[in-house]
């Protein structure tokens, strides 16, 4: 009954959406296609089969106004292969992402890199003459913070998995 503001005026929020879908050829492209066809943001998307091999679990990190997020959830639910959708932001949740970073580690940098990695609870998983590969897990923002703490010139390569999310406590997404 109150006056409504046009959607595009509203603030964009980051959301983590979890979904279960039939583990069938083409299901992933339906989700990816939906996001591009409707011009929805997509920050990351991860997918893998669950303990029940007929199902895949996907985590999508996106952003948009409340109205856009509502549409995203509805459109995802509308896909025939999608079994269940949950906006993790509707409750308490845990977000984790894995990152592997290869950094320069020659001379004085060797100690420095080890120290920064320890601060962020990273693990050095590969050691070479002039470089380390550091493994780090955490929320996306923690991984961002780690990269910011490093001097850009020491980063040789990064690879991130994109976020996976799960509800806290009794919040369970299952068929």
């Amino acid at each position: 009954m109150q006056m409504t503001l046009p959607m595009r005026w509203k603030a964009k929020m980051k959301h983590i959406i979890s979904l279960l879908m039939e583990n069938e050829a083409g299901a992933l492209s339906r989700v990816a296609g939906l996001f591009s066809a409707r011009a929805y943001n997509i920050e990351s998307l991860t997918v893998a089969p669950t303990e029940d091999a007929t199902l895949s679990r996907m985590t999508i990190v996106t952003s948009g106004s409340d109205e856009v997020i509502e549409q995203i959830i509805k459109q995802l639910n509308k896909l025939i292969d999608v079994v269940k959708v949950l906006d993790l932001n509707d409750g308490r949740y845990i977000e984790r992402e894995l990152m592997l970073v290869k950094v320069k580690a020659a001379g004085a940098l060797r100690e420095e890199m080890k120290r920064i990695s320890d601060i962020f609870r990273g693990r050095i998983i590969d050691v070479a003459d002039g470089s380390y590969t550091i493994e780090l897990t955490g929320s996306g923002s923690k991984l961002d913070a780690f990269l910011e703490a490093l001097d850009k010139t020491v980063i040789l390569e990064t690879v991130r998995t994109g976020a996976s999310g799960i509800g806290r406590g009794d919040r369970i997404l299952k068929v």
Partner: protein
Amino acid sequence: MDDSNQQKVGQISGAEIIMRCLQEENVKFVFGYPGGAVLHIYDALFKQNHFKHILVRHEQAAVHAADAFSRATGEVGVALVTSGPGATNAVTGIATAYMDSIPLVVISGQVPTSAIGMDAFQEVDMVGVTRPCVKHNFLIKDVRDIAITIKKAFYIAASGRPGPVVVDIPKDITAEFAEYDYPKTIEMRSYTPVTKGHSGQIKKAVKILLEAKRPMIYTGGGLVLGDASNELVKLARTLGYPVTNTLMGLGGYPATDKQYLGMLGMHGTYEANNAMQDCDVLIAVGARFDDRVIGNPDHFLSVPRTIIHIDVDPSSISKRVKVDVPIVGHVQSVLAEMNEILAAETNKPDAAALKSWWAKIDGWRGKKSASYDGSSTSIIKPQYVIEKLCEVTKGDAFVTSDVGQHQMWAAQYYKFDKPRRWINSGGLGTMGVGLPYAMGCQLAYPDAQVACVTGEGSIQMNIQELSTCQQFHLPIKVILLNNRYLGMVRQWQEFFYENRYSESYMDSLPDFVKLAESYGHVGMNIEKPADVEGALQDAFAMKDKFVFMNFLTDKKENVFPMVPNGKGISEMILGSDTNANDAADEMEG
């Protein structure tokens, strides 16, 4: 892996399984066109007599005809095309059906499984190509999956918000053998469409409706698709509230009823659009607040009103306009439940408020926005042709339309009192649908009057179907409103591009009479207003003839009212307050 290319006792071929499935689904017509990848299927088709195959002249027309068959009957339409070019030719038809939520099953042939991905002859990734314009699609990889997949295809197409489903079948699969077992019912954990609406929400909606001072009922294609006209008429009559229909909803409420305000939207009536803007309670029924309907959403939302929205598809709700009372459910069951609540209700609508609301509406009606200057005795006005068409067919024909000005005049001037009589492409706006749409209707109802209202631009986009009409003896009447322009384009150029008519004329037209005659049809040229009615009577008297009526109409006529792009729906240009026609006059020279 398995030995399915050896026939065993009790087994039949994939192609035969497809035939059995279609038979099981009570399919009456398959619209199609053969080719390499579907040769096994066509061979099986040759040996059956449960349904009739309609050989079109272009795959696009096959899908359109199947689509119209569905629009006219409510059944699922079926088309069959070959791989590669056959499949891509079908895409426009599939997208057209998708935009208007029409249930179709389109079977496309595919190259043999072993050739997929090899850039084989006539290979195209049909599942990939159609993904954005289908409700769902399948690629069958095992002969044993054919029956279950076709069952799912029909179920998905027809249930929930209907839509087209593509089933892509590699050629080798149609030659392999399997036992045939068609499931009676189907359950899918990932697809469970809602039917009944939430009772609490429905009660709340009825309460809000009864408290309204300036109510408005706005219904669309969903009401027609959900076959809920009777429930709507009952609701509207009980309440005494005004009703408007979208282009897709025409006939959902009888056009000749006094509570009917006409179509709304870009070319809607003055009264419908103003009532839409000015109402305090709006109930939307199977309509999706399309941009051609509500105009500029900011303008629409600049006044407060309470909105109730009934739709089977939750994603239609609060998509473009925020809704106060969402009701997800099938129109028919929700409206029936509302009627039951109302029957038991002691509260009545506010009679005094309603009286002054109707007085206001009648004021708007007084503008007579849907009118035209019919004084000329030398030039045929397109609107006049439609008015006479309506009279001659007693308002009871199946009217198909192409896309353009003629479509809008048909929508405005033909009075549809019944649903499923007005067959047109609203969402995609596909020129070329008119003739194949008429084929689908005429096949569904062989004895009915079927008129195809078209433009000289549109009709040429599927003109090859004149041949199909001859082959199947379809006594369609083509009403060509020939203005020698891509009129709708020309109108926009006149209004918004200072009369720069860039490529919007139609030159080098064929002699339509001779063209029709060359296919064994009857052709007529009608050039004077005085001849319009007689010609229509003559044409419809030829009950077993296809008649192509070429009406030479006013070249410069425009469609009014018109809401220019970006304007609010109550900010209309009316025919009476513009000299746009004069400007066009001068251009003609």
